[in-house]
Amino acid sequence: MRLGHLHLDPTMTDFAAEPHPPRVLRRMTRARRFRRQLVPYLYLLPAVACFVIWIYEPLAQAFVLSFQQWNLLPTAPKTWVGLDNYRNIFDLPKFWQALGNTWYYLVGLLPLAVLLPLVIALFTQDLPPRSRNLYRALIFVPMIVPPVVAAAVWRWLLDPSHGILNLGLQGLGTKPIGFLSDPDLALWTITFITGWKLIGFATLILSAANAAIDESLVEAARLDGASNWEIIRDIRLPLLSPTLMLLILMVVLLGAQWSFSYIHVLTEGGPLGSTTNIYYLLWQFGFGSLSVGWSSASAVILFVGFGLLAAALFALKAKVTFHDD
């Protein structure tokens, strides 16, 4: 039995077909046609209005401010400094270190924030409801605590002197490990904590997407004798690929921001800059200061930099999730 005829291609361009066949359109008056074409924009209006007012307008202001030095007070002078703010930022010795660290953060987050949740979502899907719900609820628990508190608890658990993890290791005979004070380890520790917090989030999304897959497809495949692995490989994974790509996109674009709370509470970018990332660095130097020029320039750098990355990833996403029957 061929399953293809159900048109379950995720890119689903057929869905967005013309709402009316051409001969109907010709008979409409221009006014009615115009109103019909307006409809999608009306659906978009609340969201777009919100974004324009609360995000894009300030961003545009920030862009202009990034070329000035001003402290926002109307009585104070605005000095035009051209590219000085940008130059100062790129001049920071930690800038390139932060950039490199960002790469490590993003790559390090993917296993915990995408791969592991995928495995969990798939594995728990087929379990009896009680164990499935129990596992999922337990995995979700890290999300209920505020980041600040989660960071503090992990700091205690990992402390070289009074942390039980190190006490356990000492019991096994090794020396205590400075999870957060060793410049070589600190970044991975924070990546782990950030990922730990996110497992529940990604599992939830993937479970929902998994649950939305037509069970009749799976039944049909089973009737034909497909093994679980084959079902996963041939049905679930492809149908989950848009969601997976969305998650990967989120990790890449937002990973640096997600780790912010933990960096801030646990290491403040240290030791020796080993845990700072581009977002934290710009927060420290840009947003933490009152010189609007620095913070605006930081904002523009983050926006443009990640924007380019996002564009590249979107292009990749379009390629990867397009399948032909």
Binding site: A76, S161, H162, G178, G269, P271, G288, L290
Partner: protein, 429 residues
């Protein structure tokens, strides 16, 4: 050109408004805002502040004080946002590090400009001269030192005894400290020394004290040149590097070091006296906590720096100025400092109350931990705020370089500091 003219005109008219004298007393009901960071944390600080506000309002029925709780690291940003948004900003508990910025950019009013000279002199009488100096910039008083502390060397007497050291003879110099630390390292598992020197939120307040004590300075007197690559400063950092290399101190985060001390896992902790309450809570029933003065470099005089806040006045309306000034006077009076010291844990800036039984006399006898702190009051060298709109970036860059020189793999302390000094000099106004 037009903008400059406009700015000048606005500035002139603002000064003209200031020149209007504020009334001698408040005769109509008025509400003033008090931006305060003690109110932002639950506990003694908030309770004591509310108590003082209540007492003040009882004595001044026409004045209502609206407390605005803001965390200390956010005060300058919040002020900036509120001033631009047109909110009324009257009295502010301004951290010293931001006082320079507040004076230059946030409209802090010089007291000499609005308060009649005899009234001002009358209030200043009895305050520690060093304390008054702290709020002065360019000869004018922009802030009155309010909550105030100096660095103190806390130490764990039990660990001292375990290492064979006498807890009644704490180290007085860095050299003695190193000796004691090595003994502690040899006979216990504890971390010998923790400090509050490094950490982005600390900026350079404690480091200034360390370098000052060696005869150097991070910035010159008229705040035009960075001087943290001078020989004395390099020597001080090299001393810290030596301690790090010997494993006496580690590059832990500020909170981790504080917790380590409170948990009894650290032998000595050089940090602001303001955390005393926190350490006492952790120590109760676990170990004996003691305090000593900041260590000296050989026989050079110790010059501890200060942390804490000053009260700065930002009102532009004359009636509110009078109201805010009355509150300011109350908070920095004998009664005010009595509450601040006994209930919050900061230093009293009117030495006369220390032995006066009506004020702090009894309390000081019952709380010996505060003695080293009080003794250092005479010796302190005011924290010098970094200048210009880039003050934060200058401070962070400087401290990053110093952290690298202390804990990094490169032994060339002089080279690292010199390079950083040149770089930060470029950010000076």
């Amino acid at each position: 050109m037009k903008t400059t003219l406009l700015a000048v005109a606005v500035a002139l008219s603002a000064t003209a408004a200031l020149a209007q004298s504020m009334p001698a007393e408040v005769t109509e009901p008025v509400t003033i805002t008090f931006y305060n960071y003690n109110l932002a944390s639950a506990g003694n600080g908030a309770d004591a502040t509310r108590k003082m506000i209540a007492e003040f309002e009882a004595a001044h029925p026409n004045i209502h004080v609206e407390g605005v709780p803001v965390q200390p690291q956010d005060i300058a940003t919040r002020l900036q946002a509120d001033i631009v948004a047109g909110q009324s900003v009257d009295l502010v508990q301004m951290p010293f590090a931001a006082l320079g910025f507040a004076a230059e950019n946030l409209g802090a009013v010089a007291l000499e400009d609005i308060v009649p000279a005899e009234e001002l002199a009358g209030h200043f009488e009895g305050m520690v001269p060093n304390g008054l100096e702290l709020g002065r910039l360019n000869g004018k008083t922009y802030g009155l030192a309010y909550t105030f502390s100096t660095p103190v060397l806390f130490y764990n007497a039990d660990l001292f005894r375990k290492a064979g050291l006498d807890p009644d003879q704490p180290p007085a110099t860095w050299a003695e400290l190193k000796e004691a630390a090595l003994k502690i390292k040899a006979s216990t598992d504890a971390l010998p020394l923790a400090t509050g020197i490094y950490g982005p939120t600390a900026l350079d307040w404690l480091m200034q004290g360390v370098i000052n004590s060696n005869g150097g300075a991070v910035i010159n007197a008229d705040r035009t040149e960075m001087t943290f690559a001078s020989p004395e400063a390099i020597e001080a950092i090299a001393m810290l590097r030596d301690l790090a290399q010997e494993g006496i101190t580690e590059n832990l985060s500020i909170t981790a070091q504080m917790e380590g001390m409170a948990a009894g896992n650290t032998a000595m902790y050089l940090q602001t006296s303001a955390i005393q309450g926190y350490l006492v809570k952790g120590a109760t029933g676990n170990f004996e906590l003691r305090a000593a003065a900041m260590p000296a470099f050989g026989d050079k005089p110790v010059k501890p720096s200060n942390s804490g806040s000053a009260l700065s006045l930002h009102s532009t309306d004359p009636v509110k100025q009078r109201a805010a000034w009355e509150l300011m006077k109350y908070l920095t009076s004998e009664r005010g400092y009595t509450i601040i010291t006994s209930e919050i844990g900061y230093l009293p800036l009117r030495p006369s109350i220390v032995n006066d039984p009506e004020y702090l006399g009894e309390w000081v006898k019952a709380h010996p931990l505060v003695q080293p702190n009080l003794a250092q009051l005479e010796k302190l060298a005011p924290y010098v705020p970094l200048p210009g709109p880039n003050y934060l970036q200058i401070g962070i860059s400087m401290m990053d370089a110093m952290e690298m020189a202390t804990f990094g793999n490169d032994d060339d302390v002089a080279g690292i500091l010199t390079e950083a000094q040149e770089r930060t000099q470029r950010l000076m106004p």
